[in-house]
Symmetry: C2
Amino acid sequence: MDEKKLSSQVVKRLPRYYRYLSTLLQLGISRISSKDLGNRMGLTSSQVRQDFFCFGGNGLQGYGYDVGFLHQEIHKLLGLQHSHTMIIIGAGSLGHALAKHANFEKSGFKLAGIFDVKPELIGEKIRNVEVQPVDDLPDFLSKNPVDIAVLTVPENCAGEVARLVADLGVKALWNFSPVELMMPEDIIVENTHMIDCLMVLGYNLQEKSLREESLKEKP
Amino acid sequence: MDEKKLSSQVVKRLPRYYRYLSTLLQLGISRISSKDLGNRMGLTSSQVRQDFFCFGGNGLQGYGYDVGFLHQEIHKLLGLQHSHTMIIIGAGSLGHALAKHANFEKSGFKLAGIFDVKPELIGEKIRNVEVQPVDDLPDFLSKNPVDIAVLTVPENCAGEVARLVADLGVKALWNFSPVELMMPEDIIVENTHMIDCLMVLGYNLQEKSLREESLKEKP
């Protein structure tokens, strides 16, 4: 496997490639052309070839790509041979939903703790993990090293909570609050801003209706 | 506003620009350079200039961009002057969390209905919207036009539910199931694959630790 750093755009596509390749393997398909894979994924074949070339995947003319090999390489690239520990901060409805997500543990992301400030939530068990008070975070993190903190806290305290866990040694944050976190460069941040997805849908709906109107106007 | 189609990459950045510009307006900042905005957002100034140029935003040398004007243009581009109706299919914990999300309605995305197959969930009220049986979808959609269907259903029925609502006239899908939907071209699909975000974090964690190890090895 090539060790050069991949662009963040390529990295974002890796889980999708991984999912498609897993499906192909399940279907017993052992090789595929960049064109076929691109068609299934809504990408151009040249995009697929470029992406695979970035991490040393080379197709053969008239043969295509070896599905098993690519699957294995992307598995290694994504670090799926390792497991990661994570905590969820904010045991509201979104925190609950994430704690219950079955696929996370299957992919090696193990839930080590859930934290909240609300007294009525403390002690509740979600998938056998007990909700603990946020005040216990320093003690918990000193005993349990955690890779990822999932932030499902209200907007107005997201920054404070992010700085707290980063100071306590958590290396990566998955932020669901609709704010942009200003963190030191060595802290890895991944944002899932739900409203952004709706806004993109809103844009595409408007775009579609403008396109249809302009087609109607044409003679 | 220019009517040429924006690339999907630019469209994906629009909600973030909109959020930053909203914050700037709240802070009473009326103009900003591409460099300052890029720094805040982790983008290069040339990226910011290119993006704004796509929809007719032109900065002035030594003055920068007019925050209010850009904010207004992006508001229009995103279609935020219109409201959209949506339904949630799948009233599990993620469906609950999305139904309770306060920011959606504020941005014009109105929840019109929630549907599930489980008898024990039918009749439950989430934010004053009652969970209805999926079997009632045809009747509901014939009376209530809906723009967006949010799919928080299990993986094995996502495709079937997607085809059902598309056949019933829903134009856009927000899919949370970890499958890729194969839909007709005129159906707009936005995917939020939670596990993909964790995998990207896993990649970046591994990348960071490899980088740190290689620094240690150097004399």
